[in-house]
């Protein structure tokens, strides 16, 4: 009997038995703290409600809206085509299928932007790119898109342009009709001189 075969058998047996004692602690992939800090202090993660509204109207296929509020709030009101990933289930494998897809912009939103910001920090720390936060959340959405305020007369021209855009978006989302700003034309009443009737009668 070849001694080498015996030796190899024993090595294989020991190595196989060794695998039973391998205890692997789950490690989350995460970025460096310095990189995360740098990303946090940058305002580039914020997108405005106007930008989100435009992307929804344009049916931008790269937009993935993620509502991080609880299920009840999501069922009461949510933005079009948004998916619900409550903050407490952000780390579940099903939720993570939404993140890290090439070419997809994930936009988190909540009532304000605190919970959305927290979701952004966690996903960014896990190394997912292409994630954004809707600035001001749904409160800002109501203020700017659903009930836009008319700018004062002394505000710059761009404010009026923005207002016009928001009124259009409001129409899209709420179905309200824009009031006709042009004054209704008064019906022109044509006055005609009465034809002088030829003198009749006489003496």
């Amino acid at each position: 009997m070849n001694r080498n075969y015996l030796f190899l058998t024993l090595i294989m047996l020991v190595l196989a038995a060794g695998t039973l004692f391998l205890k692997k602690t789950p490690e989350y992939k995460q970025i460096k703290p310095e990189t995360l800090l740098w990303d946090i202090i940058q305002p580039t993660r914020y997108v405005s409600t106007d930008q989100v509204a435009k992307m929804i109207i344009d049916k931008d296929p790269s937009l993935e809206l993620v509502d991080v509020r609880d299920v009840n709030s999501f069922e009461k009101f949510a933005l079009a085509n948004a998916v619900n990933v409550p903050l407490d289930s952000l780390l579940s494998p099903v939720s993570q299928d939404y993140f890290g897809l090439p070419g997809i912009k994930v936009v988190f939103y909540s009532n304000d932007d605190i919970a959305a910001d927290q979701a952004w920090v966690i996903t960014r720390r896990m190394g997912y790119g292409g994630t954004y936060v809707m600035k001001g959340g749904l409160n800002q959405w109501i203020e700017t898109i659903i009930q836009p305020k008319e700018p004062r007369e002394d505000e710059p021209y761009t404010a009026f342009e923005q207002y016009q855009f928001r009124k259009g978006v409001q129409m899209y989302f709420t179905g309200t009709k824009v009031e006709n700003t042009i004054a209704k034309k008064k019906k022109v009443v044509v006055r005609r001189k009465k034809k002088q009737v030829a003198a009749s009668g006489g003496c």
């Binding site: 058998t9 190595l15 060794g18 695998t19």
Partner: protein, 200 residues
């Protein structure tokens, strides 16, 4: 670190380059193990030559145990490895057909090509039959498409189905393989009078 392409360490363009290199290495090992001879391959069914069993079992247990250690050391992430979906009825029938083909032809698809590479006519005939089989299968595919796609269990592993840790399966498989090595060695010594014991 690994797998290299999903983690972006190398680009997907390397797929074919790696496939060629692995293919060359695989072909070399098959030929060097004597798999280009149909006698060696068919011998395992008739009980006089177990080289196929030893080579394949060696490859399997080394890969199994090696991958578990690689995963532990963080060199490869097993959760990112592609797992073929399991279509159990088709795989069961496919296994039976493959077994009969193996026994009758004396080759499997890979080994028939190594046989051609050293100029064996039986390997060439087998390969012609292989392409004929592929053609018939492709043309008649609509007839058994339903069966082909039936019983899909998805990308499951034994650990997913049973809940038992992969290391236990690896350990059990190593025990079975090592026992098979020694038992077949004893059988061969009794059955074959002229046996060459390889020294290394």
């Amino acid at each position: 670190m690994g797998p290299l392409i999903p983690n972006g360490i190398i680009t997907g363009d390397w797929n074919f380059v790696i496939a060629i290199l692995v293919g060359i290495a695989f072909g070399f090992i098959l030929e060097a193990s004597g798999f280009s001879s149909s006698r060696n391959i068919a011998g395992v069914f008739y009980g006089y030559n177990f080289v196929v069993l030893r080579v394949f079992f060696t490859a399997v247990i080394v890969a199994m145990v090696g991958l578990l250690y690689f995963d532990y050391f963080g060199w490869i992430n097993l959760s990112q490895i592609f797992i073929l979906p399991t279509f159990w009825p088709a795989m069961l029938l496919g296994g039976v057909i493959m077994g009969f083909g193996f026994l009758m032809g004396g080759f499997c698809p890979g080994t028939s090509f190594t046989a051609i590479s050293i100029g064996k006519i039986d390997g060439l005939v087998f390969t012609v039959g292989l392409y004929l089989g592929i053609f018939i299968f492709s043309e008649s595919f609509p007839l058994f498409k339903g069966f082909y796609n039936s019983g899909n269990l998805g990308h499951v592993t034994l650990t997913d189905v049973t809940g038992i840790n992969a290391a236990w399966f690896a350990f059990a498989f190593v025990i079975i393989a090592l026992a098979a090595f020694w038992v077949t060695m004893l059988i061969e010594k009794k059955v074959r009078k002229k046996i060459t014991e390889y020294k290394f």
